[in-house]
């Protein structure tokens, strides 16, 4: 019983790391642009496939492949903004329309992957094989890498938002777009940067997901659904809240899998999601809306 709880918490941290990366970009985009980017799941998938391409065709170099993913998803984030989001921003019904347009984008991405890579599973070779066993708890090196890599990116993002000039501009726009405009911040520029950074974080999440699991064209769907829950739990738009939220959900998810069974883990999370939306829509860390 005790060891079950302990290993559930460790697995919860692994899942939480993945969820945090998957959710943080979504939250950032919501915080700044007040839009729900449904193409986010597609970008998670893209990240995984890009790293696969990198490793397959560049002779197995993880570092270069990782950089390739970051570069490509970042650039495609700009494309997403210029081609889909910006033209719809600021129009009436933009919230609904951007939801639909980004949903359409995710359909395009999924089907491009089916056409380009086929629907059969692909896999990324292991970064490190082997595992660590402590009593009845076992954790493999891949999972440890995820637990270590995720915080690096999350802290990096926090640092960027807090300390760097363009990051501070992002926060300024998120808090008060008009005020930011008065002090001379080009909000259009900030918007496109934000979406690109969100896309990059999705790509990184995709890499980590691809490392422990196989690649398939629809792989971004499930993490996206989890990310929505986490985003609300953390308080819509709060990056810090989202990170906490992700680890909380990760641990609850793992505990549910251990003690209730894998079938009901998801429905239980959805019931909690509904209760959260009804009872505390501002989330754990958000301000009341």
């Amino acid at each position: 019983m005790f060891s079950d709880i302990a290993s559930a918490i460790i697995i919860g941290l692994v899942l939480g790391s993945m969820y945090a990366l998957a959710a943080v970009g979504l939250t950032l985009v919501w915080g700044v642009l007040k839009i729900l980017n449904f193409a986010h799941g597609g970008f998670i998938t893209l990240g995984a496939y890009f790293v696969w391409v990198g490793i397959t065709f560049l002779g197995g170099n993880y570092v270069i492949s990782f950089l390739l993913v970051m570069g490509l998803t970042f650039l495609l984030g700009f494309v997403l903004n210029a081609g889909v989001i910006r033209p719809l921003q600021g129009r009436p019904e933009s919230e609904t329309n951007i939801f639909i347009a980004t949903l359409a984008t995710s359909i395009i991405i999924e089907n491009l992957i089916i056409v380009g890579f086929g629907g059969r599973y692909k896999s990324i070779p292991e970064m490190a094989s082997g595992s660590l066993t402590l009593g009845s708890i076992s954790i493999n090196f891949q999972q440890m890498i995820i637990m270590a890599v995720a915080p690096v990116f999350l802290v990096g993002l926090m640092y960027y938002l807090k300390k760097m000039k363009s990051g501070m501009a992002v926060r300024a726009v998120a808090q008060d777009a008009d005020g930011a405009a008065i002090v001379g911040i080009d909000s259009e520029r900030v918007y496109s940067y934000t979406i690109a950074i969100g896309a990059l974080m999705a790509g990184v999440a995709g890499v980590l997901l691809g490392v422990i699991f196989y690649l398939s064209p629809g792989m971004g769907g499930d993490p996206l659904v989890r990310a929505l829950f986490i985003m609300v739990l953390g308080g819509m738009g709060s990056v810090k809240g989202t990170i906490y939220g992700a680890y909380i959900i990760g641990i609850i998810d793992a505990l549910a899998r251990y003690f209730i069974g894998m079938f009901w883990a998801s429905p239980i999370l959805f019931v909690m999601f509904i209760l959260l939306l009804l009872l505390r829509p501002q989330g754990l860390f958000g301000v009341k809306v």
Partner: protein, 425 residues
């Protein structure tokens, strides 16, 4: 690398050819002309495959297998001198309305003479259409549902045939083999407990039910039961911790998904128990073999297909054409097309649909998968014995070796590579 390029080119040529044929055919249809080519009237074969849905891997492999068969048939002079013309339609996720659209279009607009599908709708939504319009139809999945629909009145489904045998044998062959091994002292299980892992997928549910029933009748106990909503599993720790705290003699997974089955194996091996691991169907997927490598040594499973080793001529041919190893549906669908061809030849006239349907009922074809003889009660190919074989396989060195039936066995049962280590611990 260069080989890959060539095969890709070939693939493009086939795909391009198919599109061109479809385009020309479509244009000709709208312009009210006859079929393309001034020669003999072509035999049109509809291929209904989920090219873009959740199972696009299966759909594309299946389509390619049919196209490969058609290419071969045409190179050998067609069916009774008639060239074969494929008409490919995307069924996406096999949703009932979509399947209905596709089948009606194939039949009425394209005027196909026969239809092949990796599988249609899980609830057989397309059956009434093909029967009503009298189109010979060979499907290959959702066999238990098909069996349930056809058995009460086989004559009412005289145009509908299957290329995969009943799932019933999956429920009995493996328990039968285990009990023989135990009796002969070749396998000494640590107890009579089973961890049963299944998911909400008709194939998985049905095989799990069958195995559960036979094993419990034999006095075994299902000590751990885990049912999953889908094949997407990022982590198996919760199930494995149950297995480790009360090790069962058998771990049976009917996930039928190479990704989640491989992850299960990988995480199981982090701290294995003295258990046999049975993973349904996945060991037949090229991806599973590639990823698991020798980790999979000792995995057992039963599969209703005869052994098709990696250097089997069909596999080689498929690889040459498409640059990848076929998954099971990349094999099954080739046999489906060949069944259709033989039935059309046996009928003496590919356009006499009633005769073709009758010929399908009476077919006796030795294909890549095995021998196809249709059971008139279910319209499924007969399984077991001299018909479609149901061997017990054990994977060694990335190859599925036959263990049972003993007449065809390639080797004896051996404990899996993790077993001794786990036992001594």
């Amino acid at each position: 690398m260069s080989e890959k390029k060539i095969s890709r080119r070939k693939y493009l040529a086939i795909a391009g050819g198919a599109v061109a044929v479809a385009a020309v055919g479509g244009a000709a249809y709208y312009l009210g002309m006859g079929g393309p080519g001034a020669g003999k009237r072509p035999v049109k074969i509809g291929i209904a495959a989920g090219l873009t849905g959740r199972r696009s891997g299966v759909g594309v492999d299946s389509r390619d297998a049919v196209l490969l068969a058609i290419k071969e048939i045409n190179e050998a002079g067609g069916i009774l001198g008639h060239p074969v013309e494929p008409v490919v339609e995307d069924t996406v996720d096999q949703e009932a309305g979509m399947i209905t659209s596709v089948f009606l279009k194939l039949i009425e607009r394209e005027g196909v003479d026969g239809i092949i599908a990796h599988w249609g709708n899980n609830s057989c939504a397309e059956f009434d259409i093909v029967q009503e319009k009298k189109i010979p139809y060979i499907s290959a999945g959702a066999a238990n549902q098909v069996e349930a629909v056809i058995t009460p009145n086989p004559d009412a489904y005289s145009y509908i045939y299957m290329a995969v045998p009943s799932y019933k044998l999956y429920g009995t062959i493996f328990p039968e083999y285990i009990s023989i091994l135990e009796k002969e002292g070749k396998y000494k299980p640590i107890n009579h407990k089973i961890a049963m892992i299944s998911r909400a997928f008709e194939y998985s549910i049905f095989i799990t039910e069958g195995l559960t029933k036979t094993f419990t009748d034999m006095g075994w106990e299902i000590s751990i039961k885990e049912h999953l909503p889908s094949a997407k599993v990022e982590d198996w720790s919760s199930v494995l911790s149950k297995i480790r705290s009360d090790p069962p003699a058998l771990i049976i997974s009917t996930m039928t998904d190479p990704a989640s089955d491989h992850l299960l194996l990988k995480q199981f091996l982090e701290d294995p128990t003295p258990s046999l691991l049975y993973e349904q169907a996945s060991p037949n997927d090229p991806e599973f073999r590639e990823m698991a490598g020798n980790d999979a040594d000792g995995i057992v499973h039963v599969y209703g297909i005869q052994k098709i080793p990696t250097d089997h001529p069909y596999r080689v041919k498929y690889q040459e054409n498409f640059g990848r190893d076929p998954s099971p549906y990349g094999i099954i669908s080739y046999d489906q097309m060949m069944m259709m061809k033989i039935a059309m030849e046996n009928a003496g006239d590919p356009f006499n649909r009633e005769a073709v349907a009758k010929a399908l009922l009476n077919i006796d074809y030795k294909g890549v998968m095995g021998r196809f003889v249709i059971d008139p009660k279910t319209h499924l190919p007969k399984g077991g014995g001299e018909f479609m074989p149901f061997p017990v396989y054990q994977m060694w060195n990335q190859e599925n070796m036959m263990l049972y039936p003993f007449e065809v066995a390639e080797q004896e049962f051996k404990y899996p590579h993790w077993y001794q280590k786990a036992l001594t611990k």
